[in-house]
Symmetry: none
């Protein structure tokens, strides 16, 4: 029999948009790793009638129902009562759960539990109890009419570790071979261009499969295989990954790497080289992204955020005449910014960015997004020009930063720093 | 008639836990502000049968159905086709949407749109088109069988602004007395401390109401009132806001402001003063946060990311002996960093940060999170020391940057730069 799951998250605060439903995301991720399909996620408020309706719908289309939330001590926490009723189960008071709650209260110097608190220890008869090491509301699992029900508390700090500790072993018997995957990271080709190139291949695949995803200013392709072990899965995926990397060419910047900045830092370390930055429109974003990564100080020496012309002139040594003649967004200025950073910070290579981040274009009338990036290296200077584009300031800045990092990784891997379009 | 809504998010990547469904949260929040109840949120994969099933369920229990996602150009983007079929509508090609797509492609120097791309301009007959200013897939709205359907693209950068621009006016006729709110922004007091101080007040309130929320390294209190107009709501909220601001004191940094960095930039402009930065452990994060904001160049001159000791010495003029004697994370070094930035960048004030971002502590054995921040001003220098704490690198860096911005806003508003704890 094929199992598929529905996750029902209970909580009016989710429907009001007051909190983000990260439980559904985290549980879905773990279900996917177990190889059990989640076909639906639902969210319903703290309202017994609508919860009943949601459970009825889930019963009709899923054989594993996982609920999160609504197990607290207050009057609107009704998940257990509603689910027990929907599956014709009575509640009983679990002595061990009650004892653990008393212990929790005394350990945390709380006043003695009230009858409301004790109701958290009431559970559907015949269930497997998931005791809560992280709070007071226990979860549980039971089977009825061929449907498996799992109930977990809502707070992510309780829900996620309890799912890992109790629900994963409970559900593992339904896992139909786990799913393993690898991500092929791409810069310089969009999700839809990748899809267009690979569509026929993707359509023809069943196991492994692959699918393209977009991230801010980049994309990745996830290759997934269902198999008995990581080793078996890898054997199935290897030829696919090799094939895709060949087709996509040098826009591929890594497999299972975290980010462009991580790739750049690893390459710098490998080559024992140092980097510095000079940023105008990105305003420190490249430096921020590099230093997000622990240990970045090994290769990244520092940077100048030369937001004003004075900073460009005084710290980086840009010629003021060039700024007046060509403007701050020009090949002349971006080149001197990179040279200046490399000289002042004594790094092996340096990257610089100057452009129009928006939302308004500059006095020269060039469009938002228009940017120059320079990479100064022992092998000379490379300049990339990004045309204007329709996007908000955040996207423009991230794209400029990513392009700068892409130039560095291309230089360090001996590829064309500025590939033909 | 009472209207209630269901949000259906379409995307296998949500069911795999690959992305977080922030659209559902953001749209729910705006629906709540409109005063229209969202009774259910659903998530379904890129699968026409299951999407059909989800739409059937939604039709039986909601009279406003909002879909997000599945409007892209790839073969598994099926929301429009499925919804049109479910409501017995044919698709037509919208000329204006096609024209705008061509324009978007040419503006962004993309190759000419393919037939796949053009299919994005196919819309249900008789619909109101929501043209997409932020991407290529238009959204739309139509009515059928007394049910109002709204379709929006999935990427949050398109979905959220399009909902604001098109769906909010479209839906406003169903709003039953809107909810208006103001946010009181707080730095230096946590959500739970705020809740403890204000609990009795909050419990006693019905309209307006208030509730505390946490953000990265800060918090805010949302005051909301249900009323016939913004003016009426404001009259109800004003005394509450004044009362809360008095109780909380100078940890309140603004009402309805976007962020600490925005507050700082407005204050600088107001006082016609300029700022520069010298960042070690925050690695450009303060500069990045300031330059996220359009127009920041009016007050922010630039910064030095002095990640290496050489950068501290060569650019900022920090005494190398002080670095060896006291270490780079010391009051002596942080002071010279701020003085150096202020001198080199010729700004009225300068802020500097040096600390241990983690995940490992430094050789001196001081804990992760231990940080010095200095603010150099015409009135002298102020130094703040943050103790170690259990948190990840991202949280530590954001907290250090926020503390630096908090010192600036306190200085510029004549408050104690370092308040008593």
């Amino acid at each position: 029999m094929k199992f598929n799951a529905e996750i029902i998250s209970v909580g009016t605060e989710i429907l009001l948009g007051n909190i983000t439903n990260t439980d559904a995301r985290d549980l879905s991720q773990m279900m996917s790793q177990l190889g059990i399909d989640v076909y639906y996620q639902s969210v319903v408020g703290d309202n017994p009638d609508r919860l009943k309706e949601a459970v009825k719908t889930a019963k009709s289309r899923a054989n594993i129902i996982i609920t999160t939330g609504g197990l607290g001590p207050t009057y609107d926490d009704l998940t257990k009562q509603t689910l027990a009723e929907a599956f014709g189960k009575k509640l009983y008071r679990d002595d061990e759960a009650a004892r653990q709650m008393e212990e929790y209260f005394s350990k945390n110097s709380l006043p003695a539990p009230t009858e409301n608190n004790y109701q958290q220890a009431d559970l559907p008869e015949g269930c497997t109890v998931f005791y809560n090491d992280f709070g007071t509301a226990p979860g549980c699992a039971f089977e009825s009419d061929g449907i498996y029900v799992i109930m977990l508390p809502g707070p992510p700090r309780e829900c996620v570790p309890m799912f890992k500790k109790y629900a994963v072993p409970y559900l593992s018997r339904f896992a139909s071979g786990a799913i393993y995957s690898h991500n092929i990271h791409v810069f310089g080709m969009g999700e839809s261009a990748m899809e267009a190139i690979l569509r026929d291949k993707m359509k023809a695949m069943t196991n492994p499969t692959m699918a393209p995803y977009a991230r801010t200013s980049e994309a990745f392709l996830r290759v997934s295989a269902k198999a008995a072990s990581q080793e078996d899965a890898d054997k199935m995926m290897e030829p696919v990954i090799a094939d895709v990397c060949k087709i996509l060419g040098d826009v591929v910047y890594g497999i299972d790497t975290d980010s462009l900045e991580n790739t750049v830092l690893l390459l710098l370390e490998e080559k024992n080289m140092t980097l510095s930055t000079a940023e105008s429109c990105t305003g420190g974003l490249i430096a921020k992204r590099l230093t997000d990564i622990p240990g970045s100080s090994k290769a990244f020496l520092g940077g100048i955020v030369s937001y004003s012309n004075e900073a460009k002139i005084n710290i980086l040594g840009v010629d003021p005449d060039d700024i007046s003649n060509y403007g701050p967004v020009s090949p002349q200025v971006v080149r001197q910014m990179a040279e200046g950073a490399r000289r002042v910070l004594k790094s092996d290579i340096a990257v610089s960015v100057t452009g129009i981040a928006g939302p308004d274009s500059d006095e020269s009338g060039r469009p938002v997004g228009f940017t120059y990036i320079a990479l100064d290296t022992p092998d000379g200077i490379f300049i990339r020009n990004l045309p204007g584009r329709t996007a908000d300031r955040e996207v423009i800045r991230q794209a400029a930063a990513s392009n700068a990092l892409d130039m560095i990784r291309r230089y360090l891997t001996g590829k064309n720093v500025n590939p033909e379009k």
